[in-house]
């Protein structure tokens, strides 16, 4: 699937390039004119710009349709569906769920959970506001993962303000999220996203992951460490994600659960002719499995995987490295957040990576926690081989409740739109950590002008790699057979020696010169 996706990418990229110079100014102005966007020409021009992209989307949509057809996932434009197939519960015990899911796999029925992704939800109800949002690239994607027992996960992905993901679990009744685009386009986003009223609906937990800044630094010491004291003030460039302009998603998802938030903004460096891009590619997972590309993170029904890609970005320094400032917002009384590092001797899924990191939003309650999971590896080239692998480092989690600039950025996003004005409440935890890419001696970002980092956002107990049966069999065969041979061989020889002991002593003197027969 990927090659075609990239093929499509490569098709529209050059076309875009020719248009780029014309449209670039418009884009830049549009980003600056956030408040006043009554002008019609912008969306029109943007529409012309998106045309090839739409074509590409269609192609992708076709493919995903095919994929869905094969896997039997029902897709429709309308959020209602009726599936008669056997489904199991995503109950309290996720483990059992996982197990059952595997059984379902054998039954050739994937649909223990139904995914339904909508681009621009409720757009029709607010045509003018939604049109403005589209012209600004203020994407919203809404995915509902529902079960027959109404134990549902609700995802919202958006580029409004900053790229962010909101995840909520609600039980008791089937509901839907309602998006008020008039409010979403307001200065204050408060309450622009809410649950449709439903009898018995209980919102169990919600949390959000947001990316606030792209950090670039001149790693003069090649330490690949943000905490390096040698770095001076002029070695840093902080880019707020609020300043980025995002490509507009098409109106319809075409049944796909994959989408890309792509930004080709020139990152405020007017001197450089830049055709680089920064993107988050999401894949909402509805079943167990594993990503086909390295680091091959495990998939469950309760998570979404995303790739963060910095492609052909012109770095400001020759020794540039990058980092993402990441924020987790959780609505719970629990005050602790932690990034757990689990080590394993087994690196079969992602060669050379022995650690898996889980940033838990509520570590004390494994069933009611959100997680951000990643392996500490990023790749410096598209083919993601061992040779292009480099390290991902994370830093201490910081409470940023009192940091106005960060909170303001989170407030400009859908986190505020969904959570409401909760920032002074006691049960709101808002923590930040940086995630940096690179390792001493890897040749810096400049080596390939490419970095990709994969991660999963999900709910519940994060998946944990276990040693596969194949590996156990290989170990058993590789080490067991020789050991057995030696043991049996040993026993056999001991027997032989015991029987024929007398025969040997005589030989030992005579055979010394068996290679040089004596003449006399």
């Amino acid at each position: 699937m990927r090659p075609l996706l990239e093929y499509g990418h490569s098709v529209w990229q050059p076309q875009h390039k020719t248009l780029c110079s014309d449209v670039e100014d418009v884009q830049r102005r549009a980003t600056k004119l956030l408040a006043s966007i009554q002008d019609k020409p912008y969306p029109e021009r943007l529409a012309t710009l998106r045309l090839p992209s739409l074509e590409f989307r269609r192609k992708q949509g076709d493919m995903i349709d095919l994929w869905k057809y094969i896997h039997g996932v029902y897709d429709t434009d309308r959020p209602h569906f009726d599936i008669e197939k056997t489904r199991d519960t995503r109950g309290n015990s996720l483990k059992i769920n996982k197990h059952r899911c595997r059984l379902n796999l054998r039954n050739n029925s994937f649909s223990h959970q139904v995914l339904e992704t909508t681009f621009w939800p409720n757009c029709k109800d607010y045509p003018s506001s939604c049109q403005i949002a589209r012209s600004l690239g203020n994407n919203v994607v809404y995915t509902k993962a529902s079960t027959k027992e109404h134990d549902n996960l609700y995802y919202i992905f958006s580029t409004i303000g900053i790229p962010s993901i909101v995840l909520a679990r609600a039980t008791g009744a089937d509901s839907d999220l309602m998006f008020n685009w008039d409010k979403l386009m307001n200065q204050s986003l408060e309450n622009s996203i809410s649950f449709k009223k439903a009898e018995g609906l209980k919102v169990n937990y919600m949390y959000a992951v947001a990316f606030t800044r792209l950090i670039e630094y001149n790693d003069t010491q090649d330490s690949a460490d943000l905490n390096n004291k040698e770095l001076t003030l002029k070695d840093w460039i902080f880019r707020n994600f609020t300043d980025f302009f995002w490509d507009t998603l098409p109106l319809k998802s075409g049944g796909s659960n994959e989408f890309v938030f792509n930004s080709t903004s020139d990152f405020h460096s007017p001197n450089e002719s830049n055709n680089g891009s920064l993107s988050f590619s999401f894949l909402v997972s509805g079943a167990d499995g594993r990503a086909s590309e390295l680091p091959a993170l495990e998939r469950t029904a309760n998570l979404t995987q995303f790739d963060f890609v910095l492609d052909n970005f012109t770095p400001s320094f020759s020794k540039s490295r990058f980092a993402l400032e990441t924020v987790l917002v959780s609505l719970s009384k629990n005050k602790n957040m932690s990034i757990d590092e689990t080590q394993s001797i087994d690196d079969e899924y992602s060669p050379g990576v022995f650690t898996i990191n889980n940033w838990l939003s509520c570590p004390s309650n494994q069933m009611e926690t959100g997680f951000l999971q990643w392996k500490p590896v990023s790749y410096l080239s598209k083919d993601r081989g061992r040779k292009s692998a480099t390290k991902v480092k994370h830093y201490e989690i910081v409470d940023i409740k009192d940091r106005n600039s960060e909170v303001a950025m989170v407030k400009s996003s859908i986190v505020e739109a969904f959570f409401g004005d909760v920032w002074n409440r006691n049960d709101v935890i808002i923590r930040s950590s940086n995630i940096s890419f690179g390792l001493n001696g890897d040749g810096f970002y400049l080596k390939n002008n490419y970095t990709v980092w994969s991660s999963s956002v999900g709910y519940g107990k994060p998946p944990a790699d276990s040693i596969s049966t194949t590996v156990i069999i290989i170990i058993a065969a590789g080490l067991g057979i020789p050991v057995i041979l030696i043991i049996f061989g040993g026993i056999y020889t001991v027997f032989r020696r015991l029987r024929g002991q007398s025969g040997y002593q005589a030989i030992s003197n005579g055979s010394l010169n068996h290679n040089n027969p004596q003449v006399n």
Binding site: E348, P351, K391, I486, G489, G510, N513
Partner: protein, 475 residues
């Protein structure tokens, strides 16, 4: 074993003296320093010459690695082209050093062989350097190829020299020392070439500077060549004085003789290849493993990765000496394999600090290397030794070349855990071959696994028999 003394007395029944010192030595020759019979001459002159014989070739072998970045920049080549410098050395040697060994036995003899292969090494390096000087990549590859023709065969000649002079005396230690010197050669190269390049860079730049720097390597080869010449002269003189016998036509090795080498030799070869492929390709891939699994910085990962080399450079002569004292070579080989296997297990299945495992692996590698190679001299007659060592080295080169490629693929596809299991399986194979060697040896006289005391007694006894024979003939 005293074979030569033995043959000597059989074929030249001229003098009755128990000592083969029958030529009057005068002047310097009479002093212990020059007297080929003396301890001082053997250890102070010959051993040093033998060790330095292949110093030049080891020094130049790793020239590309020491200048990797500058080489890629100056010659404007990519990493693949750069790696070809090593391929052009190692792949031909999968076959060539076998013929090299055979030629030493059959045509050149060890003295002429050593000189001829030294000349190849020197010429190869000169061509390599000249290629850099005129910025001709194909010429450089050709240079490496010529260098390769000489390099491995020179190592065979070196082994044969060692056996000739130290058989039954301190052979294990000498082999250990040779190993150290090969390490010293590449270490000196690693540390010296870049400063030399930087120094030359002050006056000349680019590929010309590179060419001149590589000519410094060629000087090392010339130095080794001169030492090879001296060694040849001293060896010839010793042959004359000690009345070492020259081979008769029917004793000359024929190609089909390699089929008469017998099981122990092939077991040793299997151990050799199965053991070495579990150590060196691992080191080649070790950097990322130490960085990622044990969270080490690239600098310390590099340090851990080179521990095996450093430890073995120091430990192999010591272990060689101990093995000379104790005998029991097969036992030491089995010990070396088992301990290495344990180290790989620690690395694969635990998070124990890799410094420990790698130091122990370095020690066990030293034990194995100094116990394994001399065993060949115990089972193969002297006039076939060159061929035997050539074959062993050829098999080893083949194994290393193939397994290095395979190991890279395994890591990419399945990760380091499987890779470690793969290496452990090879060590198990080596262990099985070792056990079979022990069993075969035990049921055929236990010659290989004799303790040093018994071996000395036998030697003394043989010597006495030789003397008897000589006396009888005279009578």
């Amino acid at each position: 074993m005293g074979d030569r003394d033995n043959d000597d007395s059989e074929n030249s029944p001229l003098l009755s003296s128990g000592s083969s010192m029958d030529i009057e030595l005068t002047g310097c020759g009479a002093t212990p320093f020059c007297n080929p019979k003396s301890f001082v001459h053997r250890y102070l002159i010959i051993l040093v010459l033998i060790c330095f014989l292949s110093f030049g070739s080891y020094f130049c072998y790793d020239n590309p690695a020491a200048l990797q970045d500058t080489m890629i920049k100056d010659l404007n080549i990519n990493e693949g082209n750069f790696m070809a410098f090593y391929s052009f050395y190692s792949w031909p040697n999968v076959v060539l050093c076998m013929f090299g060994g055979y030629l030493i036995d059959r045509i050149f003899g060890v003295r002429l062989g050593a000189i001829i292969f030294s000349i190849f090494v020197t010429c190869g390096q000169v061509v390599f350097a000249f290629g850099a000087l005129i910025n001709s990549y194909p010429l450089m590859c050709f240079g490496r190829f010529v260098f390769g023709i000489g390099g491995e065969s020179l190592a065979v000649a070196q082994n044969t020299f060692a056996v000739k002079w130290f058989q039954g005396k301190a052979l294990n230690m000498v082999f250990g020392l040779q190993l150290s010197f090969s390490r010293v050669g590449s270490t000196v190269n690693m540390n010296v070439m870049q400063p030399i390049y930087d120094y030359i860079d002050k006056s000349t730049h680019g590929y010309k500077c590179l060419g001149i720097a590589l000519f410094v390597g060629a000087f090392m080869c010339v130095f080794s060549l001169i030492l090879g010449g001296i060694l040849a002269v001293l060896d010839k003189r010793a042959d004359r004085i000690l009345k070492r016998k020259s081979l008769s036509a029917e004793e000359m090795i024929r190609f089909r003789d390699i089929f008469t080498f017998g099981f122990p030799f092939w077991f040793i070869s299997i151990i050799c290849v199965a053991y070495y492929v579990a150590v060196f390709p691992f080191i080649g891939l070790g950097l990322v493993f130490f960085e990622m699994k044990f969270g080490m910085s690239p600098t310390s990962a590099n340090a851990v990765n080179s521990l095996v080399y450093i430890v073995s450079a120091v430990a192999s002569p010591v272990f060689g000496f101990l093995i000379d004292r104790s005998g029991k070579n097969v036992f030491w080989v089995l010990l070396g394999i088992t301990v290495t296997l344990a180290c790989h297990m620690l690395l694969a299945f635990t998070f124990l600090n890799p410094y420990i495992s790698m130091v122990i692996m370095g020690l066990s590698y030293s034990v194995l290397a100094s116990a394994l190679w001399p065993m060949v001299a115990l089972i193969i007659p002297a006039h076939q030794l060159g061929t035997a060592y050539g074959i062993m080295q050829a098999i080893q080169n083949l194994g290393l070349a193939v397994i290095s490629l395979t190991a890279g693929i395994i890591v990419d596809e399945n990760g380091y855990l499987i890779l470690e299991v793969f290496f452990m399986a090879y060590l198990c194979l080596a262990l099985i071959a070792g056990v079979l060697l022990y069993l075969w040896d035990a049921s055929n006289g236990g010659q290989l696994n004799l303790s040093a005391r018994v071996r000395h007694l036998q030697q003394a006894k043989e010597k006495a028999e030789d003397t008897d024979n000589g006396d009888r003939l005279v009578q």
